[in-house]
């Protein structure tokens, strides 16, 4: 999956439709921010899935990721901090024919609005959730989040973070989800493939993107990940429908960090199916 030449070939044929998403606006992210590549991969994925502007609504949380809300030429909504998942779920209910994508950072998802994540997974709302994990609160100038590694010195934690970090994928897997995948901001091609798979999924797609934050997260830049990432495809006999294999696989966030579709439950009924609607 890490290989990509066909992806570029395919995009070449769809250049005009790719261009519709591009903006001429000045971008406000820091140089080297992972958001550039994530937004880029999102545009690619929309194009390759043959979605047009009338087919998709992108919902943004508040934070650095949220500042992308007007940097893609599409219908977007830029809501409240921590609340993008219920907003997106409401949008998905409001019009079943439109693909709803939600994005939010680690502060919003694992502190302000973690309850929403639990229930979005449980309800299996038809929403693609691109979870931006840069391990800190960037827009408020580098405070630690619940996913910042223990011991790291951050703004508001001058002596280092005192508590253990949460493991996002492990947490979500404990909720019996229908789709869990991981990628990282140093690999646009891989992100694109994962986003495409998420878009194709009928329920709630949880996609964690390990994201570079060159300004505040010096611990885990793209290079750090590049040395450590492994791909699920490389594993022999990996069964992506086996939740216990998945939980074992996502445990390691230090040495061998596995990317790809780590878990899929094709039997889980999505929101509409379970509601009988």
């Amino acid at each position: 999956m890490a290989c990509c030449s066909t992806q570029i070939e395919e995009l070449r044929d769809k250049m005009r439709s790719y261009q519709q998403w591009e903006t001429g606006k000045k971008i406000t992210w820091c140089g080297g921010c992972g958001n550039y590549s994530i937004q880029n991969a999102m545009k690619r994925a929309l194009t390759l899935e043959n979605l047009g502007r009338r087919d998709v609504v992108i919902c943004y949380d508040v934070g650095c990721s949220g500042n992308g809300s007007d940097k893609i030429e599409a219908y977007t909504i830029h809501g409240l901090h921590g609340r993008v998942l219920p907003l997106a779920a409401g949008a998905a209910i409001g019009n079943r024919d439109i693909k709803v994508i939600a994005t939010a950072g680690d502060g919003a998802t694992f502190s302000e609005g973690v309850n929403h994540l639990v229930h979005a997974v449980r309800n299996d709302y038809p929403v693609v959730f691109i979870f931006h994990n840069n391990e800190n609160y960037g827009l408020t100038t580098g405070q630690p989040s619940a996913l910042t590694k223990k011991g790291v010195k951050m703004n508001s934690a001058p002596d280092g973070v005192a508590f253990d970090a949460l493991n996002a994928a492990d947490f979500v897997l404990s909720l019996k989800p229908s789709f869990v995948a991981r990628s990282y901001s140093g690999d646009v091609d891989h992100m694109t493939d994962i986003f495409r798979a998420g878009i194709k999924h009928k329920g709630f797609s949880f996609i964690e993107v390990f994201q570079a934050c060159p300004t505040y997260n010096r611990e885990t830049p793209d290079d750090w990940y590049a040395e450590r990432v492994r791909y699920v495809e490389e594993l022999k006999d990996y069964d992506e429908t086996d939740i216990w294999q998945a939980r074992k696989l996502v445990e390691d966030l230090e040495k061998d960090i596995y990317l790809g579709i780590v878990y899929r439950n094709p039997k889980k009924q999505n929101f509409w199916e379970a509601s009988g609607l």
Binding site: K25, R53, R54, D55, V57, C59, V62, N67, S69, D70, E73, A74, Y75, T76, I77, H78, G79, L80, R83, P86, L87, A88, A89, G90, A91, A92, I93, G94, N95, D97, I98, G113, N115, H116, V118, H119, S275, L277
Partner: protein, 585 residues
């Protein structure tokens, strides 16, 4: 009040009083009477006290009286709690077996001319082959006899109630008959001197609907073509969720119980953003959690309708009692400045219509609309002749060919009156950004002073056309020259309509100006009312006089007095009459 009977049914919570009360209400309706009934109960499921306060009359009954002509008690606790509120010469229907410990009440009853109808209801129910819960049927028969109405009316309703349980029905009917046939020495209420129900029907007439305010709200939501309902349970709004869920299949409304109120507000807003009409309901505490989302709706000019079913606070307060303490919450909640409308319902008919108006206003003007109801309205049962005519549905969405001609910047175009075009995502090639950050005309973020200032102004400028579109308040009891006048909102209207009638009969002129649209304030009729009446008071169910303060600030004048109440009970006719006597010119 010679044309009204006031009944209280009291007993232990969970002892089946709810069904006894409902059967009584339906039987009264079938006798051709108008009924208003409030259920009073504590915030627990079993144990504690609960009661039905029922007022019924030949003419339309709007409000409730504090005293009652007939008290029906099943246990000693109820006697102790409510005996003193029986009117002199009233009737005390007693189903409690043992009279030990009640001697003092029996003595007092005799002194006050109260007639006692006593039967050992529990013993009778077991003698008839029933269980102790069927004592309700015995005492129901006793109550009906004490009221002085024909047996067939109550019998018919008991048959209806237990139609699907034929074996039990037989025993229930025996219990009912045993109660009705019990020996009562007194004069039944309807046959008393001075009681005048006019010509009464002998035929069972079930034409009028019986429903509570929350039920009516759901009917209104269906009429308004609401597509989705989101809620988190909270008294006294919870039964809206129940009714919505029960009717979801038939109505096609998507009903979602969410994980919290923040979710409720965001899901409702998300659905509205996509062009689907949605509703949510909660009480004050739940609404507190929603306020940030209300602010977002104001900013992105996306409709949102929030129903707040008021109960007295702060904090958990009195969860199962009534009040009008959330006017300020509805009007001033949520950070920043933005346009909004606040409506307040007064009764079941109002619930049905106002929820439709709320959706129209929210969509047409792209604003949050808050609809205030009260426990007393939400859970009171009313007989109604029918619903008023449905207002036309106004979506405020660009439709048809015009969609093709839209440009991105039409969405938040800075127009003369502040209103710009709205269309649902996907319905046009002209995409836009619904941006919670300050933005330009297509929704692109801006921090530029001039544009930010003009966009801020655009959102607030809308208030002028919104205010112009709202109806004026309604005058009851004549426009001017009253001995005493009242201004109010919400359920106050019910008690005022009864007070106006009562006072007319004794030659005191009372009039009342009712605000259904409480914010923004409509001033023309109000100004005239204040000019033409010299003794104007306010009536509202809170301590600080929230609406009074608002009106005084807007109109630069002072009410002559304020009739306020905040103990969880609604205004009763008697206490307003007392206030009239003390304060009339």
């Amino acid at each position: 009040m010679p044309n009204r009977v006031k009944i209280k049914i009291a007993g232990e919570s969970g002892a089946g009083l709810l069904s006894a009360g409902k059967i009584t209400i339906r039987a009264l309706r079938n006798k051709g009477l108008y009924v208003v009934a409030d259920r009073e109960y504590p915030s627990l499921i079993k144990g504690g006290h609960s009661c039905f306060r029922i007022n019924a009359g030949r003419g339309k009954v709007h409000g409730l009286c504090s005293g009652f002509d007939v008290l029906m008690t099943l246990d000693k606790t109820s006697v102790v709690a409510y005996f003193d509120e029986i009117n002199d010469n009233g009737i005390w229907v007693m189903g409690y077996e043992r009279l030990e410990g009640l001697e003092e009440y029996i003595k007092k009853a005799k002194e006050r001319g109260i007639q006692i109808f006593h039967l050992p209801a529990r013993r009778i129910s077991t003698e008839q082959g029933g269980n102790f819960l069927m004592q309700n049927m015995v005492i129901l028969g006793m109550l009906w006899k004490a009221l002085g109405f024909e047996y067939k009316f109550i019998e018919n309703e008991v048959r209806e109630e237990f139609a699907d349980k034929p074996k039990l029905l037989e025993i229930d009917l025996r219990c009912l008959a045993a109660g009705y046939e019990g020996s009562f020495d007194g004069v039944p209420f309807a046959k008393r001197d001075g009681v005048n129900f006019g010509e009464m029907t002998d035929e069972i007439s079930g034409e009028r609907m019986i429903l509570d305010g929350n039920d009516a709200l759901v009917h209104g939501a269906v009429a308004a073509k609401c597509g989705a309902y989101f809620a988190y349970p909270m008294s006294p709004s919870s039964s809206i969720l129940t009714y919505m869920a029960e009717r979801a299949k038939e109505t096609g409304i998507i009903v979602k119980q969410c994980e919290d109120e923040i979710t409720v507000a965001n899901m409702a807003l998300g659905a509205m953003f996509m062009g689907m009409r949605s509703l949510l309901a909660t009480s004050g505490g739940g609404y507190d959690l929603m306020t940030e989302t209300v602010s977002l709706a104001g900013m992105i000019e996306t409709p949102l309708v929030a129903i707040i079913a008021q109960r007295p606070g702060p904090a958990t307060g009195l969860p199962t009692w009534t009040g009008q303490g959330d006017f300020n919450l509805a009007v001033y909640s949520a950070h920043g400045e933005f346009s909004r409308v606040v409506l307040a319902v007064s009764n079941a008919e109002d619930c049905y219509l106002m929820v439709q108006h709320a959706l129209n206003l929210a969509e047409e003007f792209q604003i949050p609309v808050i609809l205030l109801t009260e426990k007393q309205i939400a859970e009171s049962l009313w007989t109604i002749d029918g619903f008023g005519e449905d207002p036309e549905i106004r979506r405020g969405l660009v439709k048809g060919e015009e969609l093709a001609g839209l440009s991105n910047s039409d969405r938040y175009k800075i127009t003369e009156n502040g209103l710009s075009k709205r269309w649902a995502p996907g319905s046009s090639d002209a995409y836009y950004f619904a941006n919670g950050d300050e933005h330009g005309e297509d929704g692109s973020l801006t921090e530029e002073a001039d544009l930010a200032g003009r966009m801020y102004e655009k959102r607030l400028k809308k208030m002028a056309i919104i205010e112009a579109a709202l109806p004026e308040p309604e005058v009851f009891g004549g426009e001017g020259g009253a001995d005493i006048s009242f201004v109010g909102w919400g359920s106050s209207k019910n008690v005022m309509l009864d007070v106006i009638e009562e006072c007319r009969e004794i030659g005191v002129k009372v009039n009342y100006l009712h605000f259904g649209y409480v914010f923004p304030l409509k001033k023309a009729v109000l100004k005239k009312f204040l000019d033409e009446n010299k003794n104007v008071h306010v009536i509202e169910g809170n301590y600080t006089g929230q609406f009074a303060n608002f009106v005084e600030g807007e109109m630069k004048f002072e009410f002559r007095g304020r009739l306020l109440k905040w103990n969880g009970r609604s205004f009763f006719v008697e206490e307003v009459l007392d206030y009239v006597n003390e304060n009339k010119m």
